[in-house]
Amino acid sequence: MSDIIYQIAGAIALAAILLAFIRMIKGPSSADRVVALDVMTIISISLIVFLALILQRSIYVDIALVYGLISFVGVVAIARYLERGL
């Protein structure tokens, strides 16, 4: 029972990534695309932990931590670049 609920939750999160990807393609300005990229990485962190649950490998949680760190640094660097402060 609970496994099915977990899988439905993962499918809904995957659909959310698809919506954010549509915004990333359509986005009128470059800042819109960076916002969509930020949202996609945050949903991806959830999905990596979900993958660790499905495949029963708790080492993937470490990968999610490092992925979050690198995406944060990347988004801040792109924001500084858009502001012409870099």
């Binding site: 029972m1 609970s2 496994d3 609920i5 977990y6 439905i8 939750a9 993962g10 809904i12 999160a13 659909a15 959310a16 990534i17 919506l19 954010a20 549509i22 915004r23 300005s29 800042a31 819109d32 960076v34 916002v35 969509a36 930020d38 949202v39 945050i42 949903i43 962190i45 959830s46 932990v49 979900f50 660790a52 649950l53 029963q56 708790s58 949680v61 470490d62 999610a64 931590l65 979050g68 760190l69 944060f72 988004v75 801040v76 924001a79 500084r80 858009l82 502001e83 012409r84």
Partner: protein, 114 residues
Amino acid sequence: MELAGAIITLIGSVFLFLGALGLLRMPDIFNRMQAGTKATTMGTILFLTGIAIGHFESMGAGKIVILILFIIFTNPLSSHALARAAHHIGIPLAKKTVKNDLAEDEKKEEGGQL
């Protein structure tokens, strides 16, 4: 306990989906940013909490708690940096906007200096 974790994870994934839907449908970059940041932060917290309390032994709940704290601290920071950049490069607001206090203050400051 596992069923409770699964239900919390489902609620979190609904938050994630609504955040992404708001990102797609909002008219303006600042509206998109507030939909895409706050709802996604809440959704990620609920998603990870559900997994951590559903499978307490096999998943290593301490690392997931560290991940949740990390997301709480860094997500508003990156959103703030992006909003600041979007304001400074002059991306226009939506047509329905009725008040822009920051632009008025900046105009007033420039007038005072001249």
